[in-house]
């Protein structure tokens, strides 16, 4: 239905489209290969190191042999501590922002504050943790100081996820409850929160994953190069998986010798963190598919 010149023009236009779509697909392929490559490499090198002993024994022979149990435990403690701090604070802040606050200067300021906090570099959190928790509050380098530092690091993640989840609860739910004469707080507690719970949960899980993988914030606040004993209280230093990787890979005289342990530790860390993320992703996509409203 067209003349020669027009269809020549059309060809050129479709050629550009093909090239662009090619570039777009290529970028998707590159990202897939990057993730796939990294995961495959880590799995291939790490899997032969993993054994029951590796997971349950402490390091021996100045960390050139043995397992990584204290580091796994330490990461567990720090992460549990972080989420214990961040979850209540984050959910409360999100409730205030979505349910109570009227749009205005203060809310805007809180939002900017949360956004800026989310953008603070992790090493600056580390410095802050050192200056405030370790030195000023005299917690010393300890589980407590590290967990608090990680807690404020993931606070913006939790607030963001909780806000999103609360906003997703239909307005009609609130109106129905309020119209029955139920007080605002009870409405939030009985109606809004239960419906937002899955979303809050996924956000928290992602926060846990983030906390478990961070290194810089715990370097000066909690992490120990090596501890002979398991921690006895929250004022003790701990080993942690990410810091253990860093230490073995960069410091000391046995870098090549401890490569297998490094691979094994990296694998454990990745399985832990991505496993946690994957749980969150699956829960979320399940939730979206089975939305009740």
């Amino acid at each position: 239905m067209t003349g020669q010149t027009v269809s020549g023009n059309m060809k050129r236009r479709y050629l550009k489209q093909h090239l662009f779509f090619g570039a777009v697909r290529l970028s998707a392929i590159i990202l897939t290969l990057a993730l796939g490559g990294i995961l495959f490499y880590i799995l291939a090198n790490g899997i032969q190191v993993i054994s029951w002993e590796f997971l349950t024994a402490p390091p021996t022979d100045s960390m050139t042999k043995g397992g990584i149990m204290p580091a796994i435990l330490g990461t567990l403690y720090l992460t549990i501590g972080a989420i214990t701090v961040a979850l209540p604070l984050g959910v409360v802040a999100a409730i205030y922002l979505t349910e109570y606050a009227k749009q205005g200067k203060i809310v805007r300021a809180i939002r900017v504050g949360v956004n800026c906090l989310a953008g603070v570099p992790s090493v600056v959190f580390g410095l802050f943790g050192l200056g405030f928790f370790v030195v000023f509050l005299k917690f010393g380098s300890s589980i407590l100081a590290g967990a608090l530092t990680l807690g404020i690091l993931i606070l913006p993640t939790i607030i963001g996820a909780a806000e999103e989840a609360l906003k997703g609860v239909p307005q009609t739910f609130r109106e129905a409850s309020l119209a029955l004469g139920v007080s605002k707080w009870l409405t939030i507690w009985k109606i809004v929160l239960p419906n937002a719970l899955p979303g809050i949960l996924t956000g928290s899980i992602l926060g846990i994953g983030r906390a478990a993988g961070e290194t810089a914030p715990i370097m000066f606040t909690a992490a120990a190069f090596f501890t002979a004993k398991l921690p006895g209280s929250i004022f003790d230093e701990v080993m942690a998986l990410p810091y253990h990787v860093y230490v073995l890979a960069t410091a000391g005289t046995h870098i090549e010798e401890t490569r297998p342990i490094q691979y094994g530790t990296v694998l454990v860390l990745v399985v832990l963190v991505l496993g946690i993320d994957l749980i969150a992703i699956v829960i979320r996509s399940y939730m979206r598919r089975n939305k009740r409203w």
Binding site: S122, V123, L127, V266
Partner: protein, 295 residues
């Protein structure tokens, strides 16, 4: 206590607790300055920022962080050059082109990339990319700007693509329909209508991605090489600010000049990322207020 009073108390308690983020931000400033400012009894701000020599352990020490700042900027810029096209194109693919199933998978892949701990990526850069670079280009070390930039790009892509994707997704359908109805191809609609309409959101994404790269610690600590000198080529080693802080804090004697200098470096880093974040916030806010109407 009446029900009404109880409601008011709850509201106020929640209000106070929601201020915690701001409070922490304030405390971060206070404590960075508390531990960082004493440095300026020893050196001037000018010599600190623009000083070419970072020899914190010599006697007399010199605390010039210009090479550190340059190191940070260079890896940030180079990584953005890689991450911005990759992230934006991936976002375009997800929001406009990919079939639904691929879209879901790709979103998950990007989310998992975002979830990879930085120490793991740093480790990967050390044991895989560094030896490869060293051999291929016959370099003294593979721990250099290129290596750090590639890894930082992997970290910045998820930020850039997920925020860009939201922005692309928010472009009103009417614009797309109008474009198609005028006989535009999909490519033309994407490049001339959709991307320009989402530009402020994409800019926010890029800035936040760069902020992510400039503040990232473990990667530059492990793969940037650590040389505190101005680089002459992209295969030179550098020592970006976060790397310097993380590497040296353990050895700096408590409240020594070195210790204060590292905190002061933290202030510079904090202010830089704060600026990035405020700009991003400003752009996205401006976008929100006027809607799509005056783009």
């Amino acid at each position: 206590m009446t029900r009404h009073q109880k409601e008011i108390i709850i509201k106020n308690v929640f209000f106070i607790l929601s201020l915690v983020s701001i409070l922490i931000l304030g405390l971060i400033v206070v404590f960075l300055f508390r531990e960082g400012l004493p440095l300026f009894r020893e050196v001037s701000l000018r010599d600190f920022i623009f000083g070419m020599e970072w020899y914190p352990t010599y006697s007399p020490p010199s605390y010039g962080i210009w090479p550190l700042i340059v190191g940070s900027l260079i890896v940030t810029i180079l990584s953005s050059l890689i991450a911005v096209p990759l992230g934006v194109l991936a976002a375009v693919y997800i929001s406009e082109i990919a079939p639904p199933a691929i879209k879901e998978v790709l979103k998950a892949i990007i989310e998992l990339l975002a979830g990879l701990p930085s120490v793991v990526l740093g480790f990967f850069g050390m044991v895989i990319i560094a030896p490869w670079l060293q051999e291929t280009f016959d370099l003294p070390t593979g721990l250099n700007i290129v290596n750090a930039s590639v890894i930082l790009a992997i970290m910045a892509v998820p930020t850039i693509s997920s925020i860009s994707e939201d922005a692309l997704y928010a472009v009103p359908n009417e614009f797309k329909e109008a474009s198609y109805a005028l006989g535009a191809t999909k490519f033309e609609t994407i490049t001339r209508i959709i991307i320009p309409s989402a530009l402020s959101g994409i800019s926010t994404a890029v800035i936040l991605g760069m902020a992510r790269a400039i503040g990232e610690t473990m990667v530059v600590l492990m793969v940037a090489g650590g040389a505190a000198a101005l680089p002459e080529s992209i295969f030179d080693s550098v020592r970006p600010m976060p790397a310097s802080i993380a590497a040296e804090m353990g050895e700096a004697p408590f409240r020594s000049g070195h210790y204060h200098a590292l905190f002061a470096t933290g202030i510079v880093l904090f202010l830089m990322t704060l600026a990035f974040n405020l700009i991003a916030d400003y752009i996205s806010q401006k976008f929100k207020e006027v809607g799509s109407a005056t783009l």
